[in-house]
């Protein structure tokens, strides 16, 4: 795989950002039929997890921020923006660990997505607790964690199914396959994938 040009990388990030927005839009059209508002599948996370695995953590961070800011402008309000930012910050912290585990083949997107969703929700509860200056909201944590399992798990399964297709669509190599190919060639130590520059 030749190293991509700056333009190619920029175009790819833009297309991924657009995809994330499309997912957010679809989600806002079909709210989940649950007794509490605010629960959503987090389809936009598909793009962020994809970027963390196939591209780099900076790519994932930029896409996550773009998704939050633009979807708050289009479908949200200032308070939901703050909640998303806070939740996504915690979500991103888990992504740092998840990326290593994913690339090491220890977990798949299901585990990474569940972790990310759980951290997102825990972060939002933490923010709500700070906002109301009370720890009483922690009582919602069990429900939110169970929701993270189901909703985050669904997103992860979706990504497990789709990631290879998405990778071909966006012309990025699969880090796992690359490693396997290099091992098959008998190279004693697989070199780090060349990290691309953050396209900002």
């Amino acid at each position: 795989m030749k190293t991509p040009s700056r333009a190619e990388s920029l175009a790819r990030t833009g297309a991924l950002a657009a995809l994330a927005l499309l997912f957010s839009y679809l989600e806002s059209l079909f709210p989940l039929p649950l007794p509490l508002p605010g629960f959503k599948l987090g389809l936009g996370n598909v793009v962020v997890l994809f970027a963390a695995f196939f591209l780099s953590l900076p790519h994932a961070a930029v896409l996550s921020l773009l998704k939050i800011l633009v979807s708050a402008l289009l479908f949200g309000n200032p308070i939901s923006l703050l909640f998303s930012l806070f939740g996504s910050f915690f979500s991103f912290l888990t992504l740092i660990a998840s990326q290593k585990l994913l690339r090491g083949g220890k977990i798949t997107f299901v585990g990474a997505s569940v972790l990310s969703a759980a951290a997102f929700n825990a972060g939002q509860i933490l923010f709500a607790s700070l906002l109301t200056k009370s720890h009483a909201l922690l009582f919602y944590l069990p429900a939110l964690l169970l929701a993270s399992l189901v909703l985050g798990g669904t997103v992860g399964l979706l990504l497990n199914l789709l990631s290879s297709r998405l990778a071909r669509l966006f012309r990025v190599p699969d880090p796992l396959r690359q490693d396997a190919a290099k091992k098959a060639c008998g190279s004693p130590k697989e070199p780090e994938r060349p990290s691309r520059k953050d396209p900002r």
Partner: protein, 122 residues
């Protein structure tokens, strides 16, 4: 297509365990509350549950009416879009809460007196 690995199961089990643990935590038997505390805009005000009254509140452009009646507190009406606070139903026990996130208002039952800070487990 990626097949799920053992690591995924570990993650799922860990989150599930945390959910069950926090759930158990909230199932501790709770005593009847004595006081309603309303947190709004960083301020807090308390009302005894023994005196019936109606408390009008407004914050962030929303108005709520909280009612205390027969030792129970509940949100009678609210102009917020979700009405989660109303559906939280009457609050009676220590640690019972109702929130209106759009308005940033939290209702909480505590035991009154000075030592209400240790009602963590509720």
């Amino acid at each position: 297509m990626r097949k799920i690995r053992a690591g995924d199961a570990v993650v799922i089990a860990a989150v599930l365990a945390l959910a069950v643990l926090t759930l158990l935590f909230s199932f501790f038997p709770r005593r009847a509350g004595k006081r309603l505390t309303i947190f709004s805009d960083g301020r807090q005000e308390s009302y005894p549950l023994t005196e019936d009254r109606e408390i009008p509140l407004s914050a962030n452009g929303y108005s709520l009416i909280v009612k205390i009646e027969d030792g129970k507190a509940y949100v009678l009406s609210s102009t917020c879009p979700d009405k989660v606070c109303i559906r939280s139903g009457p609050l009676t026990k220590q640690g019972d809460t109702a929130v209106c996130l759009p308005a940033g208002i939290l209702l909480k039952i505590d035991r009154g007196g000075d030592a209400d800070e240790d009602a963590v487990a509720g």
